[in-house]
Symmetry: C2
Subunit: 152 residues, 2 copies
Amino acid sequence: MKELLRTKGFKTTPQRELIFDCFFSLGKHVTVDELYQKVRELDPSVGHSTVWRNLKLICQLGLAEEVNIGDGITRYDRTTPKPHGHFFCRSCKKLLEFDVGSVMGALVEAAHEVKFEPDGYKIEIQGYCSDCRQASRPNDAATGSANDERKA
Amino acid sequence: MKELLRTKGFKTTPQRELIFDCFFSLGKHVTVDELYQKVRELDPSVGHSTVWRNLKLICQLGLAEEVNIGDGITRYDRTTPKPHGHFFCRSCKKLLEFDVGSVMGALVEAAHEVKFEPDGYKIEIQGYCSDCRQASRPNDAATGSANDERKA
DNA sequence: ATTGAAAATGAAAGTCGTTTTCAATTGGCG
DNA sequence: CGCCAATTGAAAACGACTTTCATTTTCAAT
C-alpha cells in the first residue's frame, strides 16, 4: 500500500494510513461520515477534510468508486473484481449487491451501437427488501391515493 | 392535466400550469435550473421555490423521475413507456438514452432471488461519446500516470 | 542526522443545490 | 360571494461537499 502511494507520488502519513486502513476494514458502501466516525474512534485529532480528501484519493487510486443513490449522500464502494449492481431498499436504505455479469455484455454492446466507449457503469434497482415489504410505502401518489404525506 | 391534479387534490394555478407546460416542452433530463430559466422567460415573477416544488409534484404524480448522475445536479426525466438507461459522457456531460428492455428481465429475476421487490431502476453507463473520444481523460490516476491534475 | 521544497493536515469558511419557513395571496368548493 | 386550505415568493436554513490558508510533516538530497 505504501508502495502504491509512493509510486504515484503521494506521501505516507499516519493519518493517511489510518484512513486507508479504516476504509478497508469497514464494509462496503461507506459514507464519508461513517469513515470519519471510525477514524475518530482511533484518532480524534484527524480532521474532517483529511478524511474526505483521502477518500477521494482512494478513488483516484482506483481502489474505490463513488456510489450515488438518490439521497444526496455519496457512498464509497471498494472496487471488486466482479461487476455488480445494487439493490437499494427505499425503506431501510439498505444496499444489497447483485451480480450483473450476465447483462454487462448487452449493455456494452448497446453502448458501442451509438459509438459510445464505456468505462464505468452504475446499475441500481430500487424497491423494498423482504424485511420492509409490508412496511410503509412512501411516494405512492403516482399509483393512487393522494392528499397525504405532503404536509405531514 | 387539470383533471389529474384535481383528482389528486391539488389546485390549478397559473404558475403551476406554466411550469408543467414548460417541463413537458423541454427535452429530457431537465435540471431545476433549466426549467427555472425557461419558466422565467415566460413569467419572470415565478419564484425559484415554486418551480422546485412543482417539479417535485410532477415526480409525485409519476410523470417524471429523478436522474442522479454523480455530478451533484439532479435531472428530471419524463417517464416514458419503455424502460431505458443512460449513457453519460464524462467529457461533455451529454446524456444519451438506450433501451434496456433486454436486460430488465434478468435484473428483476436477480432481485427476486434475494426476495427484493423492485419498483424502480437506474442504469447508467459512463464513458466517452464519439465526439469526445480523443479529448481529455480525467481521473486516470488509477491506470497509470499520476502527480497531475491534483493541484492544478 | 540535517535540511528544505513539496505535500499533507486541520480548522474554518465557502460553495452550491436543495429544502423549509412564513407571511401574503389565491383557487375552488359550498 | 366567502371561507379555508393550498399555493406562492422571498429569504433564510440546511447539509453535503470543497476550498482556503497557515502550520506541520514527509522524504529525497545532502
